[in-house]
């Protein structure tokens, strides 16, 4: 076992994904920064509206920026994106908000970035499936009415899809398809991160074996 420290951010991410810590980590390896930068580049191409902030975040992580004022400026810029009226820019903004902290301290850095990118991917899958914000509002209005029941009793959770189908079969079908697509996209980014971590671990094991043979 190497004495190379695992950052709090990496340990928290591994715990969240139920991925075991590698047996061997070479000294000087900074997986936390490499993974953060990989996550930010995994969502390229960035829309023009977010490019400047994303470039700034990537540079700050690569350089291990130590100036707190730079991070505060990045956070303010990220929040402006998160408040944008365009839902895709908002989703990128949430990624930026999560990424706008130095990784060396704290535990939320990587896990929060991963969750925000999962949400972004789910949003993009939703848009690609043709689901609109008007559809979302219409579905929530129906689901809200169903959940409220008749004022005396409320339907059981498992009865809700069937009641939704009775009220608007076309919208329910599209709602289900959208949900399936969004959930798959959300899960696929988690799987990509798990694969990245597994790849990093294999590299360490190879390096470790190499060292033992000498």
């Amino acid at each position: 076992m190497s004495g190379a420290p695992t950052s709090l951010a990496m340990a928290t991410l591994r715990r969240a994904l139920q991925v075991k810590d590698p047996v061997f980590v070479p000294d000087g390896t900074d997986d936390t920064t490499r993974l953060a930068c990989w996550m930010l580049t995994a969502i390229q191409p960035w829309p023009e509206a977010v490019r400047e902030v994303m470039d700034g975040l990537l540079a700050a992580h690569r350089e291990a920026q130590a100036d707190g004022a730079v991070w505060r400026r990045l956070r303010r810029a990220a929040v402006l994106l998160g408040d944008d009226t365009d839902v895709e820019v908002q989703a990128y903004g949430q990624v930026a908000e999560a990424a706008a902290w130095p990784l060396a301290t704290g535990q939320a850095g990587l896990v929060e970035m991963m969750q925000a990118i999962c949400q972004l991917r789910a949003r993009q899958a939703s848009t690609a499936s043709g689901w609109t914000s008007e559809d979302e509002q219409a579905a929530h209005a129906i689901l809200g009415r169903i959940a409220d029941g008749d004022g005396m009793t409320r339907p059981a959770r498992e009865e809700i899809p069937e009641l939704f189908t009775q009220e608007d079969p076309v919208l329910e079908k599209r709602f289900s398809l959208n949900l399936t697509a969004a959930n798959a996209a959300y899960g696929s980014f988690r799987a990509e991160v798990v694969a990245w971590l597994a790849g990093a671990t294999r590299i360490y094991e190879y390096q470790n074996d190499d060292g033992d043979d000498r």
Binding site: A98, A100, A108, E112, Q115
Partner: protein
């Protein structure tokens, strides 16, 4: 080391005693709440960064229904900033660490203006 207090009683006396005149962040959550679990690392980080100015208390709404009712909690997570008996702000739903830090900065700023 966790900086967060757990509160499962019917009153906030222990939190009030620990906080004295510092700001309090009450985090109403539930064991089955996915967004509460997802936010936990961000809350830990905020508790650490603001340790001099802030006391964070996690309140399980099922273990402390009286407190949930007293603070009109309708969903989890619900985040409440409070100083003494005065509620400063509240937010229902999860927040990024950045937004949570803004909420705390704003509450601290209001406290300074009020002094």
């Amino acid at each position: 080391m966790t900086m967060i207090q757990s509160n499962s009683g019917t009153s906030l006396a222990s939190i009030d005693a620990a906080a004295r005149d510092r700001l309090q962040l009450l985090v109403f959550s539930a064991t089955w709440c996915g967004p509460c679990k997802a936010m936990a690392p961000a809350i830990e980080d905020i508790a650490q960064v603001y340790a001099d100015d802030l006391v964070v208390a996690r309140i399980d709404i099922e273990a402390s229904p009286e407190l949930a009712q007293a603070f009109a909690v309708r969903g989890v997570p619900t985040l409440v900033t409070r100083r003494g008996d005065t509620v400063i702000d509240r937010h229902v739903g999860s927040l990024t660490r950045t937004r949570l830090a803004m909420m705390i900065d704003d509450a601290l700023e209001r406290g300074r203006v009020g002094q």
